[in-house]
């Protein structure tokens, strides 16, 4: 085994040193009846060359979005990733290390996380950020749990315009808690504020809204924030970090906890993971936060250094009373996000957001010109929008696939009320030419009706 450095001779000598006669004796403490007798039923070992070939073949059985043009989003986005990001996260010192428990030889990871925390604060306009959560959905679940802890209340209001999978994850996380979850209906694709005003009272721990929402629309965040705060509920928001290149940050509209999916920040789309849940809140709630935190401090000579801090919140100290059970998080993805945000920077992220905005609107306008693809909602959107198709989106997507286009997401997967709804995403990577071709194929499918 080329991954194992010991030689037969080593093994012999080591066994001898230990005072054992055979490898089997190393396992003498395992009851004989549960020891594996025959070899496990696993495929025979492949050599590196065969393994690579096998992996390439598996890859060839997928349509990858370098070869296909992707107009699908819905929580996983085909944004541009600068080479620099890939270069840095493939530094062995970063990716072969673990949680920086030993600060003095982990200053690289620690400082990078401290920078990440700061960047997330700058992006969201919040006071503090943790070192990462598993993904956007579980980050939202943790935010909801945290708002229950803070308020001591046991009722939650989730907008139905939240990503359906996120709602599902929140509900799953709450199964063991005695917390009641209400879903806020939507009207014209937006969280129904009238309903909210009516139903919300001081039993609510939090009002939870996504912005832009699942349909791509901008919610009335200022308004919702006021409604929530009026009854002492926390305002928990899930935001698209790329949209923050031009949109008001959660801190500006009074969000108490801002989370979101950080995949778009320099992380590969990768069939859904590993992704990055970012998590930011107000200073006053810091000791209620889940997850790791890195803080700055000094050594005996007064030099600045970074350490894991406020660990008494965490499971390895507080155990059953911890603010979360999270241990390994998504550190390398957070590093990617830090490199991404640094590389894009002030101007770059704004530019990317503007490109998304303009291209999405261009596509929207061109599609609106077609027969039979009216917008599903009239609200303001950022990079995603919903249209109504003249036929089932599945059929339309089949036609698009022949042109190597992965079309929008059929909304009926999550919203049976929109049988022919199609959620289209246009990122900065889509060229006018690609959009025009997409629209062209759409128009052809329209005509076939």
């Amino acid at each position: 085994m080329h991954y194992i450095p010991n030689t037969d001779e080593d093994r012999r000598e080591m066994l001898q040193a230990i005072g054992l006669a055979s490898m089997d004796e190393l396992f003498s403490d395992i009851p004989p009846q549960v020891r594996v007798k025959a070899a496990l039923k696993l495929p025979a070992a492949l050599s590196e060359l065969e393994l690579l070939e096998h992996a390439r073949q598996l890859g060839a059985e997928n349509a990858n979005i370098d070869d296909y043009v992707c107009f699908r989003g819905a929580g996983a986005y085909d944004h541009f990733i600068p080479s620099v990001v890939r270069q840095i996260v493939s530094r062995a010192e970063f990716y072969t290390s673990y949680t920086p428990y030993q600060a003095e030889i982990s200053q690289g990871t620690l400082q990078a996380i401290y920078e990440y925390q700061t960047l997330i604060c700058q992006l969201t306009g919040m006071d503090v950020s943790n070192a990462s959560m598993y993904d956007g959905a579980s980050a939202l679940a943790e935010a909801v749990l945290m708002s229950c802890r803070i308020t001591g209340r046991d009722r939650l209001l989730l907008s139905q315009t939240l990503h359906p999978e996120y709602r599902q994850v929140v509900r799953t996380y709450l199964q063991g808690m005695s917390v009641e979850t209400l879903e806020i209906p939507y009207t014209s694709g937006l969280t129904d504020l009238d309903w909210l005003r009516k139903e919300l009272d001081d039993r609510a721990a939090a009002v939870v809204v996504q912005h832009p929402n699942f349909f791509g629309l901008l919610e009335e965040m200022n308004e919702i924030s006021q409604i929530a705060h009026r009854v002492g509920a926390l305002f928990v928001v899930s935001v698209d970090p790329i949209s923050l290149g031009i949109l008001q940050p959660p801190g500006a509209y009074g969000a108490d906890i801002a989370v979101g999916e950080g995949q778009a920040l320099g992380n590969e789309i990768c069939f859904g993971g590993p992704y990055l849940g970012f998590f930011a809140t107000r200073e006053q709630f810091v000791r209620n936060m889940p997850g790791r935190l890195v803080g700055a401090t000094t050594d005996s000579e007064g030099r600045r250094g970074f350490v894991l801090t406020l660990q008494t919140r965490e499971q390895h100290i507080r155990r059953a009373k911890a603010t979360s059970n999270i241990c390994s998080n998504e550190s390398l993805n957070a590093l990617a996000a830090a490199v991404y945000l640094t590389t894009l920077g002030k101007e770059g992220l704004r530019k990317v957001a503007l490109l998304c905005l303009r291209k999405a609107h261009y596509a929207w306008r061109e599609i609106a010109k077609l027969n039979g693809f009216p917008p599903l909602f009239s609200g303001t959107f950022f990079k995603e929008f919903s249209v109504n198709c003249p036929t089932s989106p599945q059929k339309i997507n089949q036609v698009l696939l022949k042109q190597r286009i992965i079309g929008g997401l059929g909304l009926k997967k999550f919203y049976p009320e929109h049988q022919n709804g199609l959620l289209v995403c246009v990122t900065e990577k889509r060229t006018k030419e690609q959009i025009d071709e997409f629209v062209e194929v759409l128009s052809e499918t329209g005509e076939q009706q």
Partner: protein, 477 residues
């Protein structure tokens, strides 16, 4: 050499990347979005590409990893991460996939997931596997929720989960997160669950026992069959925290020992890199009776086609978006294919051999609280050194001077001044010898030398108390 913060390097007007020109009409954002939605300022740093690369490259150099030296962090299985896996996990055919692309266009990815699930089930002795959990603790949460759903389906309300005092903090935290009361069971003088005490604790209110096996002392739970019997007889379930599965690969299967659930740590046992703290992956395997409760979707095979099955009415739902940390799964899959069944067993054998060899070399110099054959790791106590005012922390820091990453310290909690050492199978005997020699030298060193360590790092010992008292969690101008 210290490195400034990006915020201290940046300067107005620098750019780090060039972006495409806009090839569609360049409308002002105000025309597309009402002004109140638009932000006024975006206070991100501004640096050029060369500065960015140099900054993060230098930061990396302030780090240690498995690729730079022994990293014997107990309970973490810091084994070598094969390079070919990194390459495979960056193939466009496997990474440039949208999670919602049609099933017929991701058959390769689904096949990979399906097969990995099968292999893990085989290795753990389980019947069904979900790949969704993002890490070990996430697997525990999933497992606890499944246990809850299982009893609910049988209309039973059980409130307790028994967890040994040696357990990892995530165990009680995960149980609590599902509303369970975590009940501690003591360890006996051999470092295993005290069966007598356990017998007293187990009753109809116990939903499950959560065991790590081998446990966090690196010891195999010798009475596992008896424990299983006790818990099962009371109608409870056995959950296995598989963090330490490296010791058992191809040698013994938790499923055969009576465990009903088992999470795998792909980033530990299956060689996927730890990434400075993640991403990991914590697939959960269960016995047949529990399979209906697994999160959706499951990857299933119909004829030659692979499908995502959402039709699971008893499912607990989802614990995260999409299907799991696919990028991590790729690496674990590649690892298993490169090992084969024989290689798998060699992993366990050599991991256990290395640990026992180190015990042998060290036990005359440090107190060894449980002196028996260990599995893949072992726990020393700095009790002897403590008499001279030396703490486990000091020993750990001094190891840095010797070119080694310290072991895990102060865990498990039941060992005084614990030093928890896990060499893994990817270390050579030569390295173990040098590590042992360093620890033996340190065992004799004076308190002063140790307390001022480490001596050659970019920063000396950092003031953690000050950090927690007045938290500085972000840079500000």
């Amino acid at each position: 050499m210290k490195e400034r913060l990006v915020f201290e390097i940046g300067k107005k007007g620098k750019v780090g990347v060039s972006l495409p020109r806009c090839d569609v009409p360049e409308e002002e954002p105000e025309r597309l979005i009402p002004e109140q939605h638009l932000r006024k300022d975006l206070p991100l740093p501004e640096l050029s590409e060369p500065e960015i690369v140099r900054h993060f490259t230098r930061l990396s150099q302030l780090n240690c990893g498995v690729d730079t030296g022994l990293y014997p962090l107990g309970s973490c299985t810091m084994k070598y991460n094969p390079k070919v896996n990194e390459e495979i996990a960056s193939l466009a055919g496997l990474t440039r996939l949208h999670p919602y692309q049609p099933e017929e266009l991701c058959q390769g990815a689904l096949r990979l997931m399906y097969e990995l699930g099968e292999y893990l089930a085989q290795i753990g002795g389980m019947d069904a596997v979900t790949l969704q959990p993002a890490a070990g603790a996430h697997g525990e949460l999933t497992g606890m929720l499944i246990i809850r759903a299982y009893f609910l389906s049988k209309a039973q309300k059980r409130h307790q989960v028994i967890i040994p005092d040696s357990a990892h903090g995530t165990n009680p935290a995960s149980a609590a997160l599902c509303g369970y009361q975590a009940i501690e069971v003591k360890s006996d003088e051999r470092g295993c669950v005290d069966v007598v005490e356990l017998n007293k604790l187990v009753d109809e209110d116990v939903a499950a026992i959560m065991l790590t096996n081998p446990n966090t002392l690196g010891l195999f739970e010798e009475n596992i069959l008896e424990i299983a019997d006790i818990v099962h007889r009371a109608g409870g379930l056995l959950y296995c925290d598989g963090a330490n599965l490296n010791a058992l690969l191809g040698v013994a299967r938790p499923g055969d020992m009576g465990f009903d659930l088992l999470h795998f740590n792909l980033h530990k046992t299956f060689s996927t890199p730890h990434g400075g703290g993640g991403p990991g992956s914590g697939p959960l395997g269960v016995k047949r009776t529990l399979a209906p409760f697994l999160p959706v979707p499951l990857v299933v095979k119909q004829g030659k086609r692979y499908l995502l099955d959402y039709n699971c009415p008893l499912s607990i739902g989802k614990v995260r978006s999409f299907y799991g940390n696919f990028g991590v799964l790729i690496k674990a899959y590649a690892y298993l294919l490169s090992l084969g069944p024989e290689g798998l067993r060699q992993v366990a054998e050599n991991a256990v051999l290395n640990a026992n060899y180190l015990v042998k070399r060290l036990k005359d110099h440090y107190h060894l609280p449980y002196d028996r054959i260990c599995k893949h790791e072992f726990v020393l106590s700095g009790a002897r050194q403590k008499k001279r005012g030396i703490r486990a922390l000091d020993i750990a820091k001094r190891l840095i001077d010797c070119g080694f990453h310290p072991p895990t310290i102060y865990f498990p909690l039941i060992v005084n001044e614990a030093l928890m050492i896990e060499p893994t199978e990817t270390e050579s005997r030569q390295t173990l010898d040098r590590f042992a020699e360093a620890l033996i030298k340190i065992a004799q060193e004076d308190a002063e030398t140790l307390k001022s360590a480490p001596h050659h790092t970019s920063v000396g010992r950092l003031d953690e108390v000050a950090a927690a008292r007045k938290p500085n969690l972000r840079w500000k101008e």
